[in-house]
Subunit: 331 residues, 2 copies
């Protein structure tokens, strides 16, 4: 489902990261960083909530707004029962809608928020996501301390919190349209190769977006997928061409590849993942380039592998989905 | 956050239940039932997805619509990563937004859907929820086979799937307004007494709804909470009076109490719970009474305990939230 918007602007964004992300190429462009993985708290799970709380407090500070100015917080994360978001939302004390779309959560939130702004239902909607490498490892695979080796197709869940405040007040960057994706099942079941699981979902949504709006990739300066990683990125290029006849040319990149220095940071294997991965790259890098008009229009396609360990142990496939938003520099 | 709607109608609803619910007082008002807990499938988890698939297929059949007529499916459930919904959504093959608000998921979905209809973004939005007693027991407490005894404050996760199709086409029942709740933390940590956890969230949302719209409970024929159960129901009555000075009089009931015969069905302890609990009661009973004008206006307040076992083992409290929609009989 594709919608166009006339009145949805990005007021402020903020990013908070852990040590691995701070050691990557976007380093000092993040608003805040921590040097360890606990941030002075007792549990990794509550540390993740702190990343989200930090990020929305930074947005409030930058936008000179109070908690009471926020009509609604829309948030999600990878913890079971999206617990990182719920505990963080308790600190913000505003109306709260919890969402889940794995690593596509950020664009799902931005789509719902855009509709609330465009329809004049809300003036200020905050969209927040988080992920934490050690929380995700523990919950979906094994605790990090277990030290299991991984294939080079595996991605590395990013540690961070990211928030975006959407308003109807004109700013330098707007959300000009969105496409809600659908469930894609390519009969994949390897949680160590999520790029392969998600690439067809990204391809479906990119093609759907372009065909619904009667556009080509030449209408965009950049097509940006969420977290396919270096292997999944090449799968998407091939699949786009073979399945939809679309050549992504030199217009395509992937946030999972951009977040880390894959040559130096060998621990991240094929690249970054997690709901915060694409949010960190888009908010710390892409939005700034749109503000400076170095980019005019970007299609941001966050990709989610809806991995539930129980269902995969029961021999079901890993499903995937991707939701897209089109970001535009405002004249 | 409270919003009013002029143009949001309930086209069709459908309910599918397991044996415990079919043995309850609403028995034959459900559209379909199963006599066991597996429905011919290999796992309880996939059985839960089948409940949701059945329910939306029934809605499509009743409304004489095709899958392709649905603009978007909004769905959620209690499985980690809302897996019941994701696997069900794969069968519907439409755009999909995943949401999570524990047992308040159904009203969260109806609120988001109402905004999409009211703003003319969508013509047909499907909202679906499910829960399955044995899946929830296994994931949140212990497998049923473990046979652990429970206190009489414990609630019983309902087994069922429920779907509602919202449209802009006039029908006999409409959604006239909604209130999005916020996180409430009353320093509770007993997953065997969720009524106590959630009652203050329901009270907050009911009071917020009434004060935002400058109404009293006399503007409603019925205030209906989601799944506080028989103990939580009395806590809400007391708390509403002491905290907000509101007497719920003879206008109040709870879906968890209405779904089962608490005198005869001793296994359900304090009553029903789970995202589908309130949806089953509202769709099988309340909507029909609104259609027949036996009820004119009902405030449906689904209540969610955002219980994450890891966080509670780590000594954090169980948070809660409640979202409300006001249902109105159309002249």
């Amino acid at each position: 489902m594709t919608s166009k918007y006339k009145n949805v602007y990005i007021d402020e964004v903020a990013t908070v990261v852990g040590p691995y992300e701070f050691n990557g190429p976007l380093s000092k462009r993040f608003d805040k960083h921590y040097d360890d993985m606990y941030f002075g708290l007792d549990s990794l799970e509550s540390a993740e909530s702190k990343l989200m709380v930090d990020s929305f407090n930074l947005v409030l500070h930058k936008s000179k707004k109070e908690k009471s100015d926020i009509d609604v917080l829309i948030a999600g994360d990878l913890q079971n029962q999206i617990a990182a978001s719920s505990y963080a939302a308790g600190e913000l004390d505003t109306p709260f809608l919890g969402i889940y779309s794995a690593c596509a959560t950020n664009t799902e939130g931005l789509v719902i928020a855009s509709n609330l702004i465009e329809s004049n239902t809300c003036d200020n909607v905050l969209v927040s996501v988080s992920s934490h490498n050690m929380v995700a490892e523990k919950q979906f695979r094994n605790p990090t301390e277990y030290g299991g080796p991984k294939p080079n197709t595996a991605t590395f869940t990013a540690t961070g919190g990211a928030s975006c405040l959407l308003t109807n007040k004109k700013s330098k960057v707007r959300i000009e349209s969105s496409t809600i994706g659908k469930i894609i099942d390519m009969e994949q079941n390897d949680p160590m190769h999520m790029g392969r699981v998600m690439a067809p979902a990204a391809a479906y949504t990119i093609n759907k977006h372009l065909s619904d709006l009667d556009r080509t990739i030449d209408d965009y300066d950049l097509i940006l997928t969420g977290d396919l990683g270096i292997v999944g990125k090449e799968i998407l290029r091939d699949y786009m061409k073979s399945e939809y006849g679309i050549d992504l040319k030199n217009k395509y990149n992937d946030c999972g590849v951009m977040l880390y220095d894959l040559d130096k940071q060998k621990e991240v294997q094929a690249g970054g993942s997690g709901p915060v991965c694409s949010a960190l790259v888009v908010y710390a890098d892409i939005i700034k380039k749109l503000e400076r008009k170095e980019l005019k229009r970007v299609l941001y396609v966050a990709t989610g592998a809806l991995f539930n360990p129980s269902r995969v142990f029961q021999k079901e496939n890993i499903l995937s989905i991707a939701h897209a938003i089109s970001l535009e520099s405002v004249e």
